[in-house]
Symmetry: C2
Subunit: 221 residues, 2 copies
């Protein structure tokens, strides 16, 4: 199982365990995930603290949350080829477990935990620096700290484009567990994007995020 | 400001900053608190991982949450004499800021952050080991993982004592922000304890916690 991280395990059993999903049997990776999550949050906190000397605590938290979350970790795990190295139970493997975001994110955290256990905190820091190199380099508190609607508005204002209009196009579920579907229309760019959420506000944010993703996709405009 | 921790600062300005509340002015301790919180959670995670080799991840999380929380940190901070070392704005000082749990807890985390910044992760680990020595030694997943009502019930069952009765004795506030006061009575021990919470359930848990604290206080029974 060649995993693209810069650490040679003294105890390869730790790596093996980090890559073992609970559906495969014990020992599985959940305890290593516990320490890996803590080590990862700590390393990223220290890096951001030094990288952004003037940034208030709340902003540091927000930037970290954008770097350390399930979807980002899953994407990084895919980049390392982690899915192919996972040991999954038969049912889990057949149902696509090797590409499940939560499974990949958890296993990547477990790998960080295994490195910390094998080589200490500094070794884990070194591996995390490698895996997060691009994200740490490109981290931009000015963009990351803001919600999607604000970022979309600023994106459009910078291009002197009329602001988007949001409209509820559907509601689902009964009153206790309602879900809203909102459309975000940017007439001047002939773009509409949909979003869904448990409140009008969160559905609008979701729609704005989709519109932004569309506008920032490589190849557009 | 003699603080009872085992670290000699190379850069005493870091300690000074860790003890500076935002009401005093800048630079204050909030950025150091951000890294201190991360370092503390990481160190405790690593210690619990080794201390309890068989404990599942969920239990490790629960035990950590019992060690790393505002009230425990405030108590530890008081034990270190941290309140007297705090630098507070005038208004904050007059309103009792030096003994406010959140202020003390935040400052203690900031001190851990300052040590990490001054001497590295291992130095912070050493200081945290000292401050948490008793709590780490006495940590008991069997007890800690359970809520106060369950622990009180088990405490009483082990002593063949009749179980407690809970009763709402007051409600406060209007319907939107209601608060319940619950009394926990243990007739056989002639003990009543009160608890308060935003739901009946949380008020009962609070009352059970107070009853347990009373029963386990040194000198009782």
């Amino acid at each position: 199982m060649p995993l693209a991280i810069d650490h040679a395990f003294r105890d390869p059993e730790l790596l093996r365990q980090a890559l073992t999903h609970r559906s495969f049997g014990t020992p599985h990776n959940e305890r290593l995930e516990f320490i890996g999550d803590a080590v990862l949050n700590c390393v990223i906190a220290l890096r951001l603290y030094h990288r952004f000397p003037g940034l208030p605590e709340g902003e540091l938290s927000r930037v970290r949350a954008h770097l350390v979350n399930r979807d980002t970790l899953a994407r990084l795990a895919r980049g390392l080829g982690l899915g192919a190295a996972l040991r999954l139970g038969e049912g889990e493997a057949k149902s696509g477990g090797a590409d499940r975001a939560s499974t990949l994110a958890d296993a990547l955290e477990a790998v960080f935990g295994a490195v910390a256990e094998d080589g200490g905190f500094a070794a884990a820091g070194h591996v995390i620096d490698g895996v997060f190199a691009d994200l740490l380099r490109d981290a931009d508190p000015a963009a990351l700290g803001k919600d999607p609607k604000t970022r979309l508005q600023e994106f459009l204002q910078a291009r002197r484009t009329a602001l988007p209009e949001y409209q509820i196009v559907a509601t689902r579920g009964d009153a206790h567990a309602q879900s809203f579907v909102v459309e975000c229309r940017i007439g001047a760019l002939d773009l509409t994007a949909k979003g869904e959420g448990s409140s009008r506000r969160s559905a609008e944010q979701d729609a704005a995020a989709h519109a932004l993703a569309e506008l920032q996709a490589p190849g557009r405009g």
